[in-house]
């Protein structure tokens, strides 16, 4: 509670400093390690709770409503399904980008440092850099798999705002998102060792209404993130829509 009351004045200061009409308040994470120490202790290694075992326990997946697409996106999805090929470039080891990189069956690590929250995904060895130093989004960001992310705290909740996603960042298999895709994630500890992330995705030309999901991640202090080089021994690659399993025997790499 004292943590929250200390964070309160910082929050109010930041909100007052926010430019009128800004989608999110600038970062109020503080610029020193002493400031970081006052925040909820979300730094740590987590695993998606639906498949987690051990100390933090397992949780069933949230029963989120599926995304509702516009007629144009529905047609694209129907055509994709009709082709019969359910693979994506991930089978060729391309990372899925946001939001898919957050729901992999591998741990993630959150690091809260002055001016940045860093989210490391074991899957595909991806890194999200979330700027919490008060900057706004880049005026004309390069389009990237994990997007341009800024964050700020609202009480005990870290809010991450992401734009600037590359066309190859997968919103949903078989659907192409637009350059207006906008993701807002809200991170908080719903229990001491359970990280809740509520995600809201807007993409007006593609999603008929915002797509909202809730994911739980169990803390695993006993885990260390491991290496994941997808190209090491990938036998699932596909070309021209033809996928399968390559069973050509060769000496283990």
């Amino acid at each position: 509670m004292s943590r929250l009351s200390l964070a309160g004045p910082l929050l109010i200061t930041a909100l007052l400093a926010a430019p009128a009409g800004a989608a999110t308040a600038p970062g109020n994470q503080g610029k020193s390690w002493a400031d970081i120490a006052k925040l909820p202790p979300i730094t740590g290694v987590y695993e998606t709770a639906r498949m987690s075992r051990g100390t933090a326990g397992n949780r069933p997946p949230a029963r989120d409503a599926p995304p509702e697409f516009t007629p144009k996106a529905q047609a694209e999805l129907a055509a994709y399904k009709a082709r019969g090929n359910q693979d994506t470039d991930a089978a060729n080891c391309l990372p899925p980008g946001m939001p898919g990189i957050m729901t992999q069956p591998y741990p993630i690590q959150l690091l809260v440092t002055p001016g940045e929250v860093t989210i490391i995904q074991e899957a595909y060895m991806q890194v999200r850099h979330v700027h919490t130093d008060g900057r706004d989004h880049s005026a004309d960001p390069d389009l990237t798999f994990n997007g341009d992310s800024i964050g700020h705290w609202e009480g005990d909740t870290l809010v991450i705002d992401t734009v600037g996603l590359a066309p190859q960042a997968v919103l949903q298999q078989g659907v192409t998102h637009s350059k207006n895709e906008h993701i807002v994630e809200r991170y908080r500890l719903s229990e001491p060792n359970m990280l809740e992330v509520k995600t809201r995705i807007e993409d007006p030309g593609v999603l008929a209404k915002p797509w909202e999901t809730t994911a739980l991640y169990a803390r695993h202090p006993e885990y260390s993130l491991a290496e994941y080089i997808c190209e090491q021994n990938n036998r699932n690659s596909f070309e021209n829509g033809k996928a399968g399993l390559n069973l050509e025997f060769k000496k283990a790499p």
Partner: protein, 127 residues
């Protein structure tokens, strides 16, 4: 046991296409999850690699000591390493029994569900 494992794989596959996007590295459509087969043979090689582990098994055909090779895909070292497996769980020459969902195209292999070691110990692919 079989039903539980099948359900787990189905849950992964479902998550890949439903509310949690792009969970899996590839589609599971090539495997027949309605079928489950079991073979016993000798480990030729165990690929402790990403994005998948592979068990290469020489299985007797029943004639003159002849064998044929099976290849089985499983979860990654990252996943299995946190669930009781290690790179030395299977060694060349080990006699093991592999239960698997076969490839739909009839090739000798599939995705392994569980492995029973010669001492009777069982290890699951997803669990």
């Amino acid at each position: 046991m079989k039903a539980r494992l099948t359900t787990a794989v189905a849950a992964l596959a479902l998550a890949a296409g439903a509310a949690a996007p792009a969970l899996a590295h590839h589609s599971f459509a090539m495997f027949d999850f309605q079928a489950s087969k079991t073979v016993t043979g000798t480990v030729e090689q165990f690929d402790w690699t990403n994005p998948h582990t592979f068990i290469w098994l020489q299985v007797p055909t029943g004639a003159n000591g002849a064998t044929e090779r099976y290849g089985f895909e499983g979860m990654s070292p990252n996943y299995l390493g946190r669930r009781g497996w290690s790179k030395s769980t299977l060694k060349p020459g080990d006699k093991v029994t592999v239960t698997f969902h076969p490839l739909k195209d009839g090739s000798k292999g599939g995705t392994y569900q569980k492995v029973m070691l010669s001492d009777g110990k069982e290890l699951a692919n997803i669990g």
